[in-house]
């Protein structure tokens, strides 16, 4: 399981060239599908790029690794463009139930190697990833009955 909070600011290394090619700025989250689809990579000369989740070879304690530069690309869809323009932040986001009750804030999000969000840790409780309804700038919304 991968903790999303541990990825932020990690170097992205291209193992085929043994080169640092950027750093992780933020995960790109498709809340309706309960999954992380990629990483927003900054620290590159020509602006932020998207690293699709499937293109990542390894998630280590010191770096995220890719094999070659082919995986990185410009944002392609609304979700990715929104992330580049300043999308909602998942870690430390306030968490609301869809009944309108504040449940807490996101301490950690644990993701399966496939990118599926397994669980959202609020510190005093854990919400399954399947309970996620939406993620916006105001809050992460989860099902009240989860």
């Amino acid at each position: 399981m991968i903790g999303l909070s541990t990825l932020r600011h990690l170097d992205v290394l291209d193992t085929s060239a043994a080169a640092r090619v950027g750093r992780v700025d933020a995960p790109i989250v498709d809340a309706t599908k309960h999954r992380v689809t990629g990483l927003l990579v900054g620290g590159v000369e020509d602006g932020a790029v998207v690293l699709p989740w499937d293109a990542v070879v390894g998630f280590g304690p010191d770096a995220v690794t890719v094999a070659g530069a082919d995986g990185r690309r410009r944002p392609e869809d609304d979700l990715e463009r929104r992330a580049v323009e300043g999308g909602p932040t998942l870690i430390a986001a306030r968490v609301l139930s869809d009944a309108g009750d504040l449940l807490g804030t996101v301490h950690e999000v644990r993701v399966k190697p496939s990118g599926i969000i397994a669980e959202v840790d609020l510190g005093d409780r854990v919400v399954p990833g399947t309970a996620i309804v939406g993620l916006g700038h105001h809050a992460l919304v989860v099902r009240a009955d989860a």
């Binding site: 809340a31 909602p88 986001a93 609301l96 139930s97 869809d98 009944a99 309108g100 009750d101 504040l102 449940l103 409780r125 919400v127 309970a131 309804v133 939406g134 993620l135 916006g136 700038h137 105001h138 809050a139 992460l140 919304v141 009240a144 009955d145 989860a146």
Partner: protein
């Protein structure tokens, strides 16, 4: 997972509450309640948009379009848009300041807030908080369940005879009083 919260809320506590889409965005907040012609049913909420230059009214959210009213937010479906609406014509039934008098002619007090039941599919004024008339109670302020037979006019609210005995200060007692009046109504 979620702790059950009371479905009763003070209207004044709803004002300023964020209106959040299921997508997690919140650009608007509650400005006021829209009370229907009967003086009891909440037909909608007026909304405002906070901004640098103040808070600008944007329209009305009909009760039917509210997914849920929680302790921290009013939830609406993602993609819902708000604009000026003819239902705004129904605005103006603010109950605060009205006198509450029993059917046998005792003035109990003046409304300073209303208590709304916000259970899903039901938004209705079920009680009032009063500034109590001198001599009616030891308390300066008290809560009163209205009951189904309360009559609301532009001038006053007329409640059942003997309602003075139902004045309370504990919100839980108000909830009990509402339930008691409902069961009494159902059995009559």
């Amino acid at each position: 997972m979620v702790t059950a919260t009371t479905p009763f809320v003070r209207a004044s506590n709803l004002i300023g509450r964020p209106v959040v889409t299921t997508g997690g965005e919140a650009e608007l907040e509650v400005q006021d309640l829209v009370v229907g012609e009967d003086g009891r049913t909440i037909s909608g909420l007026t909304l405002r948009r906070p901004g640098i230059l103040g808070k600008r009214h944007v329209g009305v959210l009909a009760t039917d379009d509210i997914a849920s009213i929680g302790t921290d937010a009013v939830m609406v479906a993602d993609g819902r848009s708000f604009g000026p609406d003819e239902r705004e014509l129904a605005v103006g039934h603010d109950l605060t300041g009205r006198r509450v008098i029993t059917a046998d002619g005792t003035a109990i007090g003046t409304v300073r807030d209303v208590i709304v039941e916000t259970r899903r599919g039901r938004s209705r004024i079920e009680g009032v908080e009063l500034v109590v008339e001198p001599g009616v109670s030891d308390e300066a302020h008290a809560l009163l369940a209205l009951g189904a037979d309360a009559t609301v006019s532009a001038e006053m609210i007329v409640v059942r005879a003997g309602a003075v005995g139902d004045l309370c200060t504990d919100p839980e007692a108000l909830v009990g009083s509402v339930a008691q009046l409902r069961s009494r109504k159902a059995s009559s």
